[in-house]
Amino acid sequence: MRLTLRLSPSLMTSDELPLEIQLKGKQIYDCISEISKQSPEIHNMLWKDGHVNPQILMFHNNTLIRESDFNNSVRTGDVLDIIPAIEGG
């Protein structure tokens, strides 16, 4: 299965970071594991002290997910959005 990871532009710390990457896997966990191979920067952004960085949020399609949801199945065409938890207004 193929999933599209989309990074919020407000998380872009350098021009080298991709806005979107394609990830393969049967479950969210598989896809998340693949990130480190394609983009170590995004991997480092996501993880903190062995857990998902609490200041980074992930949406699988339109649903906010936590680590406990990482065994959710993935279908081709799914979208995983990564956004910062803190933004002002």
């Binding site: 710390t13 350098s14 806005l19 903190k48 980074i56 959005d81 910062p84 938890a85 803190i86 002002g88």
Partner: protein, 607 residues
């Protein structure tokens, strides 16, 4: 803005319509200006700051200080969120230690900016000062824009909302930018804001403006005796192409706007959700930016407020993000009743939690009052919290009725008093007030602009924000998110990331669209015919930002102005769960490093 299909081989081919109004002698001239550089092409503060730089201004309230009401290249176009208006001037609030005012802008959505561009005017420059209160009427006509000054005596003493409703009766197909009572009393309130009307406001009759809040642009309007501006034009018929539809769909459903969308639409429910996130690290400002060991911030988290009130997500013109989180009374049937206020993270926090107020009804009242009088909630809130802090530290010589944290009635009375122009102590802002009391250490401002709702000990980037700490330097959430404290990291994020936040204070789209560079260039090409690369946009944004720093230095801002509130360097708040890293030595080195980049670039840019 007039353009032909243009690969920008000749920037001069791009023109914009600028209306220059000399209020002192009531002359009005419209010029077709040829752009000299990309900053002028993209517009917003990038264009306006070049005009400001040509004026030598010693005092914000002086006739040679212009007020520039401008738009961005995408304002009024069918790109979603292309609604921004920018109010630019030398600010009465932002001031150097030498006493000279700093250049500043404040932006608002709503529909005023679009209507203004549809009249055929891209930018208005107000010069001088009117001897009597006036309204500016800009009307679209077959022969080009018709522009007139109209007496405004009948509008004085009314709230911004009342002014808009009155204007609506006379100018049916128009939108409005007006000031409230605070702006009228510019000499007693330096943080008057500008209210821009929304379709929702005009249809519902509820007080649902969008605000150009920061830096006292409403007070500048008040000084100039401009009570309001009427943009009178028909809505153009639009047909969205396939590509544009896709772009708008992406803005409405993409990752960039998730924070601001409703939870049922795959979002986080607005900036208000910062309460939940920041509370985990105990960094929601409380009691003048000093969270206690047992914080009460979460009492005003959205899920708590929704127990007693209905929250409706409403929107600006043609925007599907629906970032307005409007609070209504809850009827016995659980439906929405009377509209009360709009909650965003900053106004809510600074007018409640940071004042020691944790009751949601009281919070709605204070937020609504601030809007009613037309004041910047950040400046009003942070100046109030300083007063409460001062009174706690000086029980034998308290200020202003001895108001204390949590004392709702006294705080409400003070807010009304400053809104009515009866309390200069508060109305002058926290920098001047704290200096007059010789108590500057815990006055939460940088360069005279009160801090937004992120603790100063978490964000050294505040020092380089050129128009408000969370609107012009995107470093305020980084310590919480990444936990990095080393100098190389902060030097890099300030110099190479944070400053690009001002891009959408130029282009005409809203920061909440969070549109990536590639799609932005696509939108510009589709809607204006101008082909501009991502790199060119980045360079233009950087130049505009650096021009802002250069203008600060031109106005006398020096090392002593580029500082954080002293107390956070002297006294660590043990309750805060982010790493403590800021010291005088650290900041001195960081300033040296950051300015070594900026000064070098400014030398080339502004030679």
């Amino acid at each position: 803005m007039s353009v032909v299909k243009n690969n920008l081989s000749n920037i001069n081919d791009v023109t914009y319509q600028q209306c220059v109004i000399n209020l002192t002698n009531s002359t009005i001239k419209v010029h077709q200006r040829h752009c000299q550089n990309l900053e002028e092409v993209l517009g917003g503060f990038a264009r306006a700051y070049q005009t400001l730089a040509k004026h030598d201004v010693d005092h914000a309230y002086s006739e040679n200080n212009p007020l520039i009401v401008t738009t961005g290249l995408l304002t009024g176009t069918p790109i979603m969120t292309g609604l921004r208006t920018y109010f630019c001037s030398y600010s009465p609030l932002k001031v150097s230690n030498q006493g000279r005012p700093g250049a500043m802008w404040s932006a608002a959505s709503g529909k005023f900016g679009s209507k203004l561009r549809w009249t055929g005017i891209d930018e208005i420059v107000f010069e001088g000062r009117s001897s009597t209160p006036v309204l500016l009427h800009v009307k679209q006509s077959e022969h080009g824009p018709e522009i007139n000054l109209i007496p405004a005596d009948d509008y004085l003493g009314k709230s911004s909302h009342e002014k808009i409703l009155l204007l609506q009766k006379q100018f049916a197909d128009s939108h409005f930018a007006v000031i409230g009572e605070a702006g009228e009393h510019y000499d007693k309130c330096f943080f008057g804001s500008v209210a821009c009307s929304t379709e929702n406001l005009l249809k519902s009759g509820d007080d649902k403006c969008r605000w150009a809040g920061r830096g006292g642009m409403g007070s500048i309007m008040g000084y100039k005796n401009i009570i309001g501006i009427i943009a009178d034009a028909r809505d153009p018929k639009i047909s969205l192409t396939g590509e544009l539809k896709e772009l708008n769909k992406f803005i409405a459903t993409g990752p960039g706007s998730r924070k601001y969308r409703e939870i049922k639409k795959g979002g986080l429910g607005g900036t208000w959700s910062n309460y939940d996130t920041l509370s985990k690290l105990n960094i929601v400002p409380e009691n003048n930016f000093k969270p206690p060991a047992n914080p009460k911030a979460l009492q005003l988290a959205r899920q708590e407020v929704e127990k007693d009130f209905v929250v409706k997500a409403e929107n600006c013109f043609r925007c599907a993000i629906a970032c307005h989180k409007n609070i209504y009374e809850k009827t016995t049937a659980g439906k929405h009743g009377k509209f009360l206020a709009k909650f965003d993270y900053e106004p809510l926090n600074l007018l409640s939690t940071n004042l020691g107020i944790h009751d949601s009804r009281q919070a709605t009242e204070l937020v609504a009052l601030c809007d009613r009088y037309g004041m910047d909630s950040i400046s009003a809130g942070a100046t109030l919290s300083f007063v409460l802090d001062y009174n706690q530290r000086n029980p034998d010589a308290p200020l202003l009725n001895n108001a204390r944290f949590g004392d709702f009635e006294l705080i409400r009375d003070l807010l009304i008093s400053v809104g009515q122009g009866k309390c200069l102590e508060l109305g002058q802002g926290v920098k001047r007030l704290s200096e007059s009391l010789n108590s500057t250490d815990y006055a939460m401002h940088v360069k005279g602009l009160e801090l937004p709702s992120y603790l100063p000990e978490t964000n050294p980037g505040y020092i380089w924000a050129i128009a408000g700490g969370h609107m012009s330097m995107q470093t305020y959430g980084l310590l919480a998110a990444e936990g990095e404290t080393n100098l190389d990291y902060w030097e890099n994020v300030i110099v190479n990331k944070g400053l690009y936040m001002v891009r959408d204070d130029i282009t005409g789209i809203c920061k909440f669209s969070n549109l990536d560079g590639q799609r932005l260039t696509q939108a510009i090409s589709l809607l204006t015919g101008i082909n501009i690369s991502e790199d060119e946009i980045k360079t233009t944004v950087r130049h505009a930002f650096l021009r802002g720093i250069w203008l600060e230095k031109k106005q006398g801002f020096n090392d002593s102005d580029y500082e954080l509130p002293a107390e956070i360097l002297k006294m660590q708040n043990e309750n805060v769960k982010t790493p403590s890293f800021l010291t005088e030595k650290y900041l001195k080195e960081l300033k040296k490093r950051v300015f070594s980049h900026f000064d070098e670039e400014i030398k080339k840019l502004c030679a």
